[in-house]
């Protein structure tokens, strides 16, 4: 496939990065139109070159198999987490923020980066409501909770779930714990000093939290929704497990499902996952009082924004992923550090799940005789570690690197926090994450 087909993807990224800076209101109003325009700019030339049938098949494949489960999961977690609120006058300080970031990061591997982000974002915003400069807290929230924290289990981040369905043992990713702890320590140390500086400045400016009463009355409202949250997490794991069961596969090993168009099918495990998630979201919404959503400033805007942007990103990135798939084995990437940076670099802009799969397959086809036995071949532990860390960690490099990044940005923007622009955030990542990843490379992947 020609590189020219990647232009709409680059164009859409440029719009996401630049238009909010140049014409914010215009971008907000016409976002769906712009996304549709770039999508059509890919679909039409693709249809002219390869035929309308192939184009339709490609678009349906991406929407039904990748986008649908992605957005339904995001929607479910967004909806359920929005029905839980932490009441109480806990005041945000560098120390409490650090503790919450640690809890959130570890929670990411238990309920997924999206689940942990949605669950933690509002309490963190609320605690720090008395402060003026809060954007750095949310930037580190994205670094740690929305990305890095998901590396310990297949539940944490979708690429690892794909790895699990390709034969990587469920608990294998726990081996990444030392790397996660190392990264957490460095990032939290940097965070503490940045936050402390901002905190001191704010105190000197006369800002103070309302803490006149001794003691605080912390309580969780809508706690029953934790059950629905668990239901969603379970459905994701279930979907991964069911896909590997012979009962859900045909004679050739393809996962069974409803045939939609040509080879495109909506698999039964995906359907079950979608059904369970939507049921959980519906029940959560119906069983929770409006008052909790009001307190949480719950609106559909954040999920709408992400849904619109990512449908365009998913469609227009298909050529880039196709090129990557066809070139993956010929890229001459043989060392773990190369795997870490290539998987990571591409995961910063492309969907990290297919990127992970491409390099997992590439590594599996290298003919190693020792390592982790997967359905794509034997992969040395160091190589698999590099691919996993690259895919999970470097999603933090940009707002579009991982879905929760954009959700956290959007929710923060809605609640009085002036989040950095696309480039502003990227600059944070370059200044803070890049050096940490370089140290990771030296210590773990060389």
């Amino acid at each position: 496939m020609s590189l020219w087909f990647c232009i709409p993807f680059a164009g859409l990224l440029a719009c996401i990065a630049v238009l909010p800076l140049l014409r914010a209101e215009w971008w907000e109003r016409y976002r769906p139109v712009i996304v549709a325009a770039w999508s059509l700019l890919f679909i039409i030339p693709f249809a002219v070159t390869y035929g309308a049938g192939t184009a339709l098949e490609s678009v349906l494949e991406c929407i039904l198999n990748d986008y649908l489960t992605f957005i339904v999961l995001l929607f479910g977690l967004f909806c359920v987490a929005g029905n839980i609120t932490l009441e109480g006058d806990l005041a945000g300080s560098p120390r409490t923020n650090m503790v919450l970031l640690v809890i959130g990061t570890l929670l990411s591997s238990c309920i997924g980066t999206t689940g942990a982000s949605m669950l933690m974002v509002r309490p963190v915003i609320k605690m720090n409501a008395w402060r003026e400069k809060r954007s750095h807290i949310m930037v580190f929230f994205i670094f740690l909770i929305s990305n890095l924290g998901g590396c310990l289990t297949p539940i944490g981040d979708p690429p690892l779930l794909m790895g699990f369905s390709r034969g990587v043992p469920f608990f294998w990713s726990l081996r990444l714990f030392p790397i996660l702890v190392f990264n957490m320590v460095i990032l939290l140390f940097i965070f503490y000093w940045i936050d402390r500086k901002a905190y001191r400045k704010e105190i000197a400016q006369g800002r103070k939290p309302a803490i006149q009463k001794p003691g605080m009355d912390i309580h969780l409202q809508g706690a029953h929704n934790l059950f629905f949250l668990a239901m969603i997490v379970a459905s994701v794991i279930l979907s991964g497990i069911l896909s590997g069961l012979p009962f859900f596969q045909d004679a050739e090993g393809n996962v069974l499902g409803i045939s939609v168009f040509k080879e495109v099918r909506l698999t039964y495990p995906a359907l079950i996952e979608i059904f369970v998630i939507l049921a959980a979201a519906f029940l959560s919404y119906k069983t929770t009082g409006e008052e909790i959503r009001r307190k949480n400033h719950f609106t559909w805007d954040a999920i709408q924004e992400v849904a619109v942007l990512f449908v365009g990103i998913f469609i227009t990135m298909q050529p880039a992923l196709e090129i990557l798939r066809s070139m993956g084995s010929s890229l001459d990437i043989t060392e773990p550090f190369q795997m870490f940076w290539t998987t990571g670099g591409l995961s910063s802009f492309l969907d990290n799940t297919p990127t992970y799969l491409v390099f997992l397959t590439t590594a599996g086809a290298m003919g190693f005789t020792e390592g982790v036995a997967t359905s794509v071949g034997m992969i040395p532990a160091k190589m698999l570690t590099a691919i996993s860390c690259g895919a999970v960690f470097m999603g933090a490099n940009t707002y579009i690197g991982n879905a929760p990044n954009m959700m956290v940005k959007s929710i923060s923007d809605e609640n009085g926090i002036c989040m950095p622009s696309f480039f502003g955030y990227f600059f944070w990542a370059v200044r803070i994450l890049l050096p940490v990843f370089l140290v990771d490379t030296i210590l773990f992947f060389l």
Partner: protein
């Protein structure tokens, strides 16, 4: 100039009120764009409107309010609020260019007039005298005699005790040291004690929680009565909260302070006293710098700095009284 300021204040007030209205309509508990007291926010907003280089901050703050306003569920309410927002935005956009072109080169210098001692106090204000002092200079005596001669209350450790009472804090953990609280070194706490502390101090470090409560208490008192307050960063706290006051710093040459402390505390050797004073000065400066962002004892932060060794207690009190008479 006065009319322009009035106009900017009025506009700033409407921006603040819009933020409050949006927040109330949403019923959210996640936080507002302007989360300080009205008067302080208005002052900051006027500053932003008045400055060419910071006008982008004002626009981004307005954008944040509109982000929130757009999420109001009720269409009619949203329309009304968005109309108000657009009106304000238009006014901000067409703020006379001359306003910004008159950027003040040195804001602090310009504020000297605003805080001129002669015009500082209105009839509604109480006389609040904040005295910062170096340990061993006789500052406490000067403060006490001054309060007595003015027939107003004298607060030193009383404020601190009131804060402890408010926070239900044990006296053993913390003690007052010449105008600032000193905490006992962190001891090994059990998990239960830690959780108790988190609950009691709202997750904040103990010293920060004490400071915030002290701030509230000092501001409340300044709105109610005339008094002399010793230390506790009161001068900085009242400045930030736009409460008129007189700030004084009293010190004395190191040798004089050593002699004085030795006279009072006969159990300590000279070496111990010297070390004790140096340590207290260091801690005091650190405490003041941490919570105010200003330099403790730096002359530019005070209305009057006195070397008590030059004037003695009575002389210092007289000097301060003469200055107070100038303030009307």
């Amino acid at each position: 100039m006065g009319k322009k300021k009035e106009m900017l204040r009025e506009l700033a007030g409407r921006i603040y009120d819009l933020d409050v209205e949006v927040y109330e309509r949403l019923g959210s508990s996640l936080g507002r764009v302007f989360n300080q007291e009205r008067e302080q926010c208005i002052k900051e907003l006027v500053k932003l409107m008045d400055s060419k280089s910071k006008s982008h901050i004002l626009r981004s703050q307005l954008a944040l309010i509109s982000n929130m306003a757009r999420t109001i569920g009720d269409t009619d309410t949203r329309d009304i609020i968005m109309k108000k927002y657009e009106g304000i935005l238009q006014e901000v956009t067409i703020l006379p260019k001359s306003f910004a072109s008159e950027d003040i080169l040195d804001e602090k210098m310009a504020q000297l007039n605003e805080w001129n001692l002669e015009e500082r106090f209105s009839q509604d204000n109480h006389l609040v005298i904040c005295i910062g002092r170096a340990y061993g200079c006789g500052g406490s005596e000067i403060g006490f005699v001054l309060a007595d001669s003015l027939k107003i209350n004298y607060y030193d450790v009383e404020i601190f005790n009131e804060v402890l009472k408010r926070m239900e804090l044990e006296q053993d953990d913390v003690e007052d040291r010449a105008g600032f609280p000193a905490f006992q070194p962190a001891q090994k706490l059990t998990l239960k004690q830690r959780l108790k502390d988190i609950n009691r101090y709202h997750g904040l470090p103990k010293r920060d929680a004490v400071f915030f409560n002290q701030c509230d208490l000092i501001c409340d008192m300044a709105k109610r009565e005339d008094f002399v307050v010793m230390g506790r960063c009161a001068d900085a706290i009242l400045t930030i909260n736009n409460i008129p006051h007189i700030s004084i710093y009293i010190t004395a040459p190191f040798e004089q302070r050593v002699r004085r402390v030795m006279k009072i505390n006969k159990k300590m050797s000279e070496k111990q006293v010297r070390e004790h004073i140096r340590r207290l000065d260091r801690k005091h400066a650190k405490y003041y710098g941490y919570y105010t962002g200003r330099g403790w004892g730096h002359a530019e932060n005070y209305d009057l700095c006195i070397n008590s060794a030059s004037y003695g207690i009575e002389g210092s009190v007289e000097l301060i009284r003469r200055m107070i008479r100038r303030s009307g």
